[in-house]
């Protein structure tokens, strides 16, 4: 806990730096002065458009999505007592994808596709919840198994939809499935969800630390295990559903960011949760900036870059730790 102020300061700076970089850099070269002018609406209208309407919303959306996925990942890992869990392990991204693809198949507008994705994610949550409940009590193992199976089911459904869709729908569907931040419209709802969720999750941090020791031990120390687990499950689902609705399913961040932070900062959820929000946001913003500028005008899928950035970083940290 004593590391919290220092950690937040460092990660906060990193987050700010990544946002500034995202706004300053693009496939159209702008000097910092021009970027600054564009930010305030001065200077040529082109610059204003580029900065205010293209780069800034996209940077904020990337930050929100990265933060949402990282916090969801941290919560999932505690919920399932498993460091290998990620936000999608319980079928959330699969459900969202099925929702989105069915909406595309039905030919509805894009706003409805996003809405359908959100509903699909939450539907998946309820299905896994209901199935794992079974005959009374469920354990993290049972939840995990149910989630993995449901996720596989969604995967098969996605393949089926892709197979029967008319060819002209396929590019749009694949674009959605790969995850892309050019989807993003307004970043404010996602940012609001991220901020609120992190703030509300923080007081649960110590209980989560205890829960991570095992449900019996936690119960013996006064933690309301069932209530806490459901809260965490719903929170993680909501965060993931929001992230997937904004940008499709972007992988890797939810699994690796909490892990990397744990290697450096230890296991106190009161530090890990806010740190995940900042670090996940910074990483995805950086990755998205690279994705749209590295080989401009060619645009890369951001999931490729997150892996390229995250894998070496993670391996380095793993190597350095004991």
């Amino acid at each position: 806990m004593t590391r919290l102020p220092a950690t937040l300061a460092v990660l906060g700076l990193a987050a700010l730096a990544s946002l500034m970089l995202a706004v300053a850099v693009g496939s159209v070269p702008l000097t910092p002065a021009q970027v600054w002018a564009g930010l305030w609406g001065e200077g040529p209208p082109l610059h204003t458009t580029l900065v205010q309407e293209l780069r800034l919303p996209r940077a904020l959306a990337a930050f929100a999505t990265g933060g949402l996925l990282a916090v969801a990942g941290a919560l999932m890992q505690v919920l399932l007592r498993n460091p290998l869990a990620d936000p999608y392990v319980l079928g959330l991204s699969g459900g969202a994808a099925v929702g989105a693809l069915l909406a595309m198949l039905a030919g509805v507008g894009l706003a409805l596709v996003s809405g359908a994705a959100f509903i699909g994610a939450l539907a998946s949550t309820l299905i896994v919840f209901g199935l794992a409940h079974g005959t009374g009590s469920w354990t993290p193992t049972r939840l995990l198994l149910t989630g993995v199976v449901v996720a596989a089911g969604w995967g098969a459904t996605i393949n089926f939809i892709l197979a029967i869709s008319p060819s002209q729908e396929l590019p749009g569907m694949l674009f959605w499935l790969m995850g892309d931040l050019s989807h993003a419209r307004s970043p404010w709802p996602a940012l609001a969800v991220l901020f609120t969720a992190t703030l509300c999750a923080w007081p649960l941090g110590r209980s989560l630390n205890v829960l991570a020791r095992g449900s019996l031990q936690a119960a013996a120390l006064g933690v309301r295990v069932r209530g806490l687990e459901w809260t965490v499950y719903l929170a993680a689902s909501l965060l993931t559903a929001t992230a997937v609705t904004v940008a499709g399913s972007i992988g890797f961040i939810g699994l690796v960011v909490p892990h990397m932070l744990r290697l450096v900062l230890g296991n106190d959820q009161r530090v890990i949760l806010p740190a995940s929000a900042l670090a996940g946001g910074a990483l995805l913003t950086l990755a998205d900036t690279l994705a749209r500028t590295a080989i401009a005008p060619e645009q890369l899928p951001v999931g490729v870059i997150t892996a390229l950035l995250g894998v070496p970083l993670f391996l380095y940290l793993l190597h350095r730790s004991r």
Binding site: T49, L50, E53, P171, P297, E298, Q299, P301
Partner: protein, 313 residues
Amino acid sequence: MATNVQHHSGDARTPWWTGLLAAGLVLAPMSGVMAADPICVEDDRNERVCLSQPAERVISLSPHITEQLFAVGAGETIVGTVGFSDYPPEAESIPRIGSHDRIDVEQVVAKSPDLVIAWGSGNPSVQVERLEALGLPVYVSEPRGFADVADELERLGQLTGRSDAGREAARAFRGEWEALQTRYAERSPVSTYYQIWDQPLMTVNDEHLIGQAIRLCGGDNVFGDSSRLTPRVDREAVLGADPEAILASGRGEEREDWVEEWRRWSGSTAVQRDNLYFIPPSLLQRHTPRILEGTRHLCEALDEARDRRPEQE
């Protein structure tokens, strides 16, 4: 015009203000013509795209659109296009603004275009909507057949102020198209299988552009009545249908692997009569005037297949 008016106003028998009235009546609609948007065209979404003057800075979001623009003489108006815009050769030097399935929106905006021509099924609609939201005029092209190629040439000609060239190109296209139809459509049907991909095996139905070309050439596509535009089939289905002619595109312009693959099945009619044909994919894949060249190849191939029939048939 003005001199005529003054001439009228000089006539003694009409009141002095008639001239002014006539001037006003003549000049008013003229000034209206100067200021109102004269170029309005319906795109393939059935939406009206209106420009106040012919487009001079065009963004093309598909290789076929680039080709079409060149065909109406508007190639020099293109300020940015997507990857694979390789025909005509001059198109290679046009600056790129991403790929058709992932557009660099920033670059598009930076080019300050006055018209963006998008590809309905090939561009991510999210990004096309973004461009429209930023205030750019967007024309969506989604051609479905031969007739659409000619229509589009006319519409693109209008949008770029090259209506004459557009009409001429469309006329030439329709003429050649009709000529091919007259020559080949009435010939005896040749059962045909056209392969557009090998893993998985993919073919076309009658609604597909290639399917329409096959019909034009008097071919009978064995998978023509499939409900999907590009059905996935298996070898058994093709061998069961036992087409008279097997045509394939291949991945590149020279490779004939896909066609050669079929030689193994020596029992099939097409293999026995050596009716295995390769058509360079670039000639049959885009809704541009080159489709006629590809169709001609196709018709000649099917004609050869007719010639190779045994005497009794």
